[in-house]
Symmetry: C2
Subunit: 312 residues, 2 copies
């Protein structure tokens, strides 16, 4: 089977007006489209984000702080979301496959990713996690636990954690063996739980990994021919949000690098996706796509979405 | 490699005087002994319970009820514990293996287990979950959510959920493929998340599965030659706790059945373990052992623990 890695954002499963970690109708929609990718003859390898979910679980841990003698570490929260999101996605993928008469094995595996404690990201925490804090709460967490906090204009303060680059997916060989068996594999939840090798062995670290970077690393190492990063829009745009806005059906690697350098893609959103895909293509990746969840099949067929390729 | 399924109780990783979901020194001890089983030339497949952990997470969910519009379902709580316990055990197994110069892949996978909604257990919820309740709390949960509650002499009330028999491990083929690659696989956490096929597809159900039964089902279907159910004591005893107490080094299947029928083994503890192993042996299982965690290697060597076999 042709293979495709599909990276789904945690936001695609979350409705902030509802507030549950996962909404069944959103899970259904995502998995409906994944099932149709299978119907087109592709074996999907599915990675997923966990931003809103880990935020909720951190809030939950905080509310229940008196139940536990020690604060719940961030790696534990990420591992919870891997269990939860993997379980719910697997159920719905089974269901949607059966609905269209397909029978595949589906498995969700915990994923742990080695990072370097020397990664410059540890000098410059950049990723906001958890709820908004008041100034005094922020001050307290800074003093008591050494948390780095930042002010978010008008909305209060938030904790920032480092976002180091993924170096090695510890479960990579397992994922490879499952994929070779045509088992639909869910992995790299939340970018993977970041760990490093310390004198005491493998240890979790208070950080989060960008799931798109981990997805690109996995696609590269497993030589997966197609990679789709799903986002809220069908295309990558130039001059996004202006009267000069232009959807891009294709970009060469050189163009993508130039547009990225010019600041065409927003830093917290499209920018890192394009950057991760550039990295993937430069390391031998074949076909990199950015599109929305409903368009993933059409994007694979070349009809919709933005394709980045080494040459046109 | 020879293979051994090792079933670890959630209590082995929990210290009620501390109260954290997992205690690092306990994880270390368990994984030290697992690493030494590998050193003896066995590939372990590790299953684990989650009783105290799921109790804590249910309490946490309850304390944070106002964060979410709907109550957190039990299947989500079990999936959280699969993520958490799998992650922490995998880290420590890596560490303990490296400490003795061994290099293996270790992977923790989510496990979902099909049960029948017709299982008689649904007519008779028997497994206490979550914290102790006051009479008025118990009454409220009974009225609002239809929870079945029971009085626990002197300690208050608790919710009871059904404990149906596991019928099918949905990830069985994936586990088999990983085991064939000599990958150390952690699975069947908390006995697996119970699901059933409804008109709407795969759905979780408010129940918990006995992890020893799921372990026996896995060992049977994967034809794993050795199965150890770990417990707090080195041996199964006759007349336990009396002056006639006698440790059993060996039992035939027929003896095990007879002792079980005589009520020699306590209902909430040793009884179901012996019953699960009887089931395993009757379905073609080879070697069934019950012992403590520190003795797992010695038990495999035949020096300690209680072995149940089809004939002596």
């Amino acid at each position: 089977m042709k293979r495709v890695l599909i990276a789904i954002g945690g936001n695609a499963l979350y409705d902030k007006d509802q507030g549950n970690n996962l909404e069944l109708h959103l899970l259904r929609e995502v998995c409906f489209h994944i099932a149709h990718v299978v119907k087109r003859g592709y074996l999907p390898i599915i990675t997923f984000g966990n931003g809103p979910q880990v935020g909720n679980l951190l809030a939950m841990a905080e509310k229940s702080a008196d139940l536990f003698p020690s604060p719940i570490p961030l790696d534990t929260c990420v591992s919870w979301t891997q269990g939860e999101i993997g379980y719910w996605l697997a159920n719905e993928i089974y269901t949607q496959l059966i609905n269209i008469g397909l029978d595949y094995h589906v498995v969700a595996i915990n994923t742990t990713v080695e990072v370097s404690p020397e990664d410059p990201a540890f000098q410059k925490p950049s990723k906001p996690v958890g709820r908004f804090l008041t100034q005094s709460e922020a001050q307290e967490l800074y003093e008591d636990r050494g948390y780095i906090v930042t002010q978010d204009a008008g909305r209060g303060y938030r904790r920032l954690v480092p976002s180091p680059k993924p170096l090695k997916i510890l479960e990579e060989r397992a994922i490879q063996k499952l994929v070779e068996q045509n088992i639909i594999t869910l992995c790299c939840g939340g970018g993977g739980v970041p760990v490093f090798w310390s004198d005491e062995g493998v240890k979790g670290i208070e950080a989060v990994i960008d799931k798109d970077y981990t997805s690109c690393l996995l696609a590269k190492n497993l030589q997966i021919e197609n990679l789709i990063i799903c986002t809220e829009v069908d295309y990558v745009y130039l001059n996004y949000g202006t009267s000069q806005e232009k959807a891009l059906g294709q970009m060469t690697l050189a163009e993508a690098e130039r547009y990225l350098a010019e600041g065409q893609f927003s830093e917290g959103s499209m920018g890192p996706k394009v950057a991760a895909l550039i990295d993937y293509l430069k390391s031998g990746g074949k076909r990199a796509l950015i599109t929305s969840i409903p368009q993933m099949s059409e994007a694979l067929d070349g009809n919709v979405g933005t394709a980045i390729s080494c040459s046109l």
